[in-house]
Symmetry: C2
Subunit: 352 residues, 2 copies
């Protein structure tokens, strides 16, 4: 990522008349066959997808038969794909998922952090408590992995280690879905202690196209992916929380766009109706840049996203007294790349 | 900030063996005469300094005679230069500053946000209260401005507006100290509703060299600057809070380095003993990048900074279970630029 290979500016942050900050990054849009429709910036360099691939990490929960055996609800499946706010409904879903597998929160290996949820934070503080693993935004994913491990007859303790059979399976699913080999030097450790494997944005985009369409996946994997996405569309608040990007998209564009963000500015999307997958990373890791860029891409590809993501597209920045002081805007470069993409689509349509 | 003018990478964020994210930006190091010793990246483009210039904004409080008339303590002067955590000692200092000027917190125009301080946040939640203007990290600066306005016989209400005589004075001080003309198109509105004027990093660096040395300033301004910095060295916890970068520097390098961060990745420093000023901005606005870059610059220029900033220089990233998962590191580009700067200094010393 040295100067001669600088990714383009995707998002400009204005204060008054001037650009105050900007976010560079790369975006890949691909179909299930791996055809790259847009490759803006370096989409070949492996990046850690972090929480953006939680739906892929949740596939064994369904594919193994655990979801059926435990009679998991849409809420429980959705929270297994979530980076949740730690609101009461998230905690309830994680607890019931664990309980159906015969476990409790003491099995969670994700570590603790203060939840986004102000209500839960307040409850903890009022009780003089510190946050626990269940309050971690990843606790649903961990609960889902534990349930899968129990159903598969695997030792649940140690489920988070790279050598645990469940993580070996998840690595294989990631590799097969995205069409890449995952060498040991591509592994990092995530904030929640699970392995995270770096892979190119182009491969991630293809993987999400397959996730959304089932094309190129074995039938049972395609069904598992569809069931997980349907659960997220049915219970969008479980996947993030009220007011958060992914919940807004899953609720407003149910069936048309499945999105999931990860730490350090990663965001992925599956657009089942269009047969496309999107993967982007902001170089500096800022969610502000990733969400604004993805909103622009979604609005370009899905006309109904304009209304659903109106606030995100406006990108208004207000100061502590509520005064409008700036704006988070798609860069000229991103806008022109999306125009070119749409023009190319029109030409293909006309030629066809 | 388009690709052909990309600033260099200043800081790399590693996860496991790979760079996960990076922060680009620009750094200026100058002396009081405006000689640029280091200009890494675009140091000529005007940037909003935000809270990094709070000590400059506090000059009228001393220069006007208000500090003497009201008998302000080091704590009260330090909090007037602060981006504070909202701990009890910060709130106490702001309240006493206001009280000495015959005012109360109802005059503060900075707006409200949740404080960094967990203790204060807990107290607010326990009482079912929302944060008020006094909890805003800028409340000390605003209290100082109010005290200056009262002492100068100005109407305190409206002190935050660009046309208020106090803000006109502050604009003139900023302009004179940094040696730049501040046109209206350089003005943005800060998070706390005050005007913020964009100016080049090279000018900011010169301004901080003058602030630290008094060179090039009128005698009464030089004395005001020295008194404010001495207050910050005497009460470093008032300027930020326990565990925070500026408090660590002001406490550990008292007299040798005055640092002050601002929003959106700005950080400035005065090194009185070396006669230098430093100004940097991370393009994407991340404090993570700005603090790590400044730590590297301080360590290069001040050998004793190595011990004071050991944790910041290590830059260890731990996950939610406390496991080391990565590192925030100065880029090769920044390290080589600092080596070149020191080599040039050695050559000058040898030649001299």
């Amino acid at each position: 990522m040295e100067p001669n290979s600088a990714n383009p500016v995707l998002v400009d942050v204005f204060r008054g008349p001037r650009v105050e900050s900007c976010h560079r990054g790369a975006i890949a849009i691909a179909d299930a066959a791996g055809r790259l429709l847009l490759g803006l910036g370096d989409v070949a360099r492996p990046i850690y997808p972090r929480s953006a691939v939680k739906a892929l990490q949740a596939i064994p929960l369904v594919e193994s038969g655990a979801a059926d055996a435990f009679g998991l609800s849409a809420e429980e499946l959705a929270v297994a794909c979530a980076s949740h706010s730690g609101d009461q409904l998230h905690l309830d879903a994680v607890r019931s998922l664990l309980a159906k597998a015969g476990l409790d929160e003491s099995y969670l290996a994700c570590g603790a952090h203060w939840p986004v949820s102000e209500a839960t934070m307040r409850a903890l503080l009022l009780n003089g408590e510190r946050p626990r693993a269940i309050h971690n935004n990843c606790s649903g994913k961990h609960a889902g992995m534990l349930a899968a491990a129990v159903h598969l007859g695997l030792e649940p303790r140690g489920y988070e280690k790279p050598e645990h059979p469940l993580q070996v399976t998840i690595k294989r699913i990631l590799s097969e879905t995205c069409g890449v080999t995952l060498d040991p030097d591509l592994m990092g450790v995530d904030g929640c202690s699970l392995p995270t494997f770096a892979l190119p944005l182009s491969a991630l985009a293809q993987g999400f196209a397959r996730l959304g369409t089932g094309a190129g996946l074995a039938p049972e994997r395609a069904r598992a992916a569809e069931r997980l996405m349907d659960a997220c569309f049915a219970a969008p608040v479980l996947v993030a929380g009220e007011g958060r990007f992914d919940t807004i998209v899953l609720r407003g564009l149910a069936g048309a766009a499945f999105t999931k963000g990860g730490a350090e500015g990663v965001h992925c999307a599956a657009l089942p109706e269009l047969g496309l997958g999107i993967a982007l990373k902001v170089d500096d890791g800022a969610k502000r840049g990733a969400e604004r860029a993805l909103a622009e891409v979604l609005a370009a590809l899905l006309p109904k996203a304009w209304a659903v993501l109106a606030n995100e597209l406006e990108g208004e920045l207000h100061n502590w007294r509520g005064r409008l002081v700036g704006r988070v805007a798609a860069s000229a470069k991103l806008q022109s790349a999306l125009r070119d993409l749409l023009d190319a689509g029109d030409r293909t349509a006309t030629a066809g």
